[in-house]
């Protein structure tokens, strides 16, 4: 039986929030999305902006064209939530009640979390590319960069799309090679993790990529502070890395109103059951996409696979049924490797990225964990799938929500 009086409020109209709202209205629920933005960006495109591919117009659409007309879009920001009273207050002072609340506020970069990062060098010789402004400013900086040391650097995990910095380094190698400048430019990859590839099969399969492209790696480097005058990164153990141009992935954080809240962790990500997406604190509270503290990639594909579980669980919650813990951490993404090739990854909480064929076990046509032209074309084509299938909440053929082990090569256990 339908229950049209139940009110679902979704905070955030990013990839997860749009998909979820478009799916939920089909169940005849009263759905409200709260987001102050007028436009939505196709964020995977930000990777290509610094290299002069795409322009911003190709990567953005008005939210009004993406959200179903039956969804109420409240253009506002959330100031506070009264969890036990099932209501929230917006910055303009509106009080909004809900039966079920979904937090889909994503993640954003917080340059102020690292001493010296957002100071004198910010957007002069220190850039990010996870924002449209940052990616466009970096485009100009790269055009003017003809010699010196380019450092691509990750502050801490988790970050939105953990492979994007690696892709950036590969594409930068390509970019300077094509301009005939590669010999004058040193590229270094600096990470707080133990290496650029941390999963065993990916490490053994792809470890050579950085060496082949003459990209030096500095691992286990956790930045204590940036000295913008001396142009150097300083690690907690005293090591230093110099740069002429720094492309940084600052600390990623959840929405401001979640910081120091009872429902979120120290970075402002909502603590949820990893299988059901239900808050560990309140039964009528859920989180989806980057806003959740799930131990998988922060990426649109993950949000896509989460939506099925969440729609099912919202309906179960409304009908008083037990929730399903059906989300398996599935993530599926293309990784640009440079030279017009890309890799494809398919993995979940339990299974690391492995070699094999996708989406059909024997036939592919795409190969997993191997750079190929068809994967690169797949990455470019994905922009259309995103606008016309993913966001409207349509099913993408042949791509299951749960990861399949079919077509994957199991690593040999020695």
């Amino acid at each position: 039986m339908e229950n049209p009086t139940k009110k679902i409020v979704i905070i955030g109209a990013g990839t997860a929030g749009i998909m979820l709202s478009n799916k939920l209205v089909k169940h005849k629920l009263d759905v409200t999305v709260i987001d102050s933005s007028e436009v939505h960006y196709y964020q995977p495109g930000f990777l290509f902006l610094p290299f002069g591919k795409y322009n911003l117009d190709k990567l953005r659409r008005p939210l009004s064209k993406l959200i179903n007309k039956k969804v109420t879009h409240l253009r506002d920001r959330v100031a506070s939530i009264n969890y036990s009273g099932n209501s929230l207050t917006t910055e303009s002072g509106q009080e909004v009640g809900y039966d079920i609340l979904v937090i889909a506020t994503g993640t954003h970069i917080d340059a102020s979390a690292t001493q010296g990062l957002s100071g004198a060098g910010w957007r002069k010789n220190i850039f990010d590319f996870y924002t449209p402004d940052g990616a466009m400013a970096l485009r100009e900086a790269l055009q003017n960069f003809t010699q010196g040391k380019l450092v691509v650097q990750i502050m801490d995990m988790p970050i939105k799309c953990p492979v994007a910095p690696l892709e950036f380094a590969f594409l930068a190698d390509d970019y300077f090679r094509k301009r005939g400048l590669r010999d004058q430019i040193e590229i270094e990859y600096v990470t707080s993790l133990s290496g650029a590839f941390t999963k065993p099969v990916a490490s053994s399969k792809l470890g050579h990529l950085l060496t082949d492209k003459n990209i030096n790696i500095v691992a286990d480097f956790y930045v204590e502070k940036v000295d913008p005058e001396a142009r150097k990164l300083i690690c907690y153990d005293g090591r230093e890395v110099n740069y002429d141009l720094l492309v940084t992935i600052p600390v990623n954080a959840g929405a401001d109103f979640l910081h120091n809240s009872e429902i979120a962790n120290e970075l402002g990500f909502v603590e949820v059951n990893h299988g059901s997406l239900q808050s560990t604190k309140y039964p009528n509270l859920f989180a989806i996409g980057d806003a959740a503290d799930l131990p998988t990639s922060k990426a649109g594909s993950v949000a896509h696979f989460e939506v099925e579980t969440l729609v099912e669980n919202i309906m179960r919650s409304i009908n008083g049924q037990p929730l399903e813990e059906s989300f398996d951490g599935h993530s599926n993404c293309f990784v640009e490797a440079g030279g017009g090739k890309a890799l494809l990854l398919d993995f979940n909480y339990q299974t690391e990225p492995l070699e094999g064929r996708f989406p059909f076990a024997m036939f592919g046509p795409m190969k997993l964990l191997n750079p190929s032209r068809i994967n690169h074309l797949g990455k470019l084509a994905f922009r259309y799938i995103y606008w016309y299938m993913l966001l409207p909440g349509r099913k993408i053929p042949f791509i299951p929500n749960k990861m399949s082990i079919k077509g994957k090569k199991q690593p040999k256990i020695s």
Binding site: T198, D237, S297
Partner: protein, 103 residues
């Protein structure tokens, strides 16, 4: 694969991280620490190791920032206690999986 650590047969991955955190004990921790060049585990080492194990058992993901905010050590001390790569080395000694990114 099986590996003998401190006279006990335990299941480890290719990089020597314990596959089952229940097979861990203090002797194994000392032996792994010694392999990593940490000759003696002080009380502060143990405080960090126990904190990391508690966090993992509660389903919490670990990162360096979280350790720094734990009240057990700050990040500078964390690097001093487990030189090189504090999170990866401390995790290994604590019998926990290697901290990874998605690839």
């Amino acid at each position: 694969m099986q590996k003998e650590i401190a006279g006990q047969n335990v299941e480890v991955d290719a990089e020597g991280y314990l596959a089952d955190l229940n097979q861990w004990n203090g002797e194994i921790a000392k032996a792994i620490a010694s392999e990593l060049g940490i000759t003696e585990l002080s009380q502060q080492h143990w405080d960090v190791i126990n904190w990391l194990r508690d966090q993992k058992a509660s389903g919490n993901e670990l990162n360096i920032r979280k350790v720094g905010g734990s009240g057990v050590v700050d990040i500078k001390q964390f690097y001093q206690l487990f030189p090189g790569g504090p999170l990866k080395n401390a995790s290994k000694i604590a019998g926990l999986p290697k901290p990874t990114s998605c690839l």
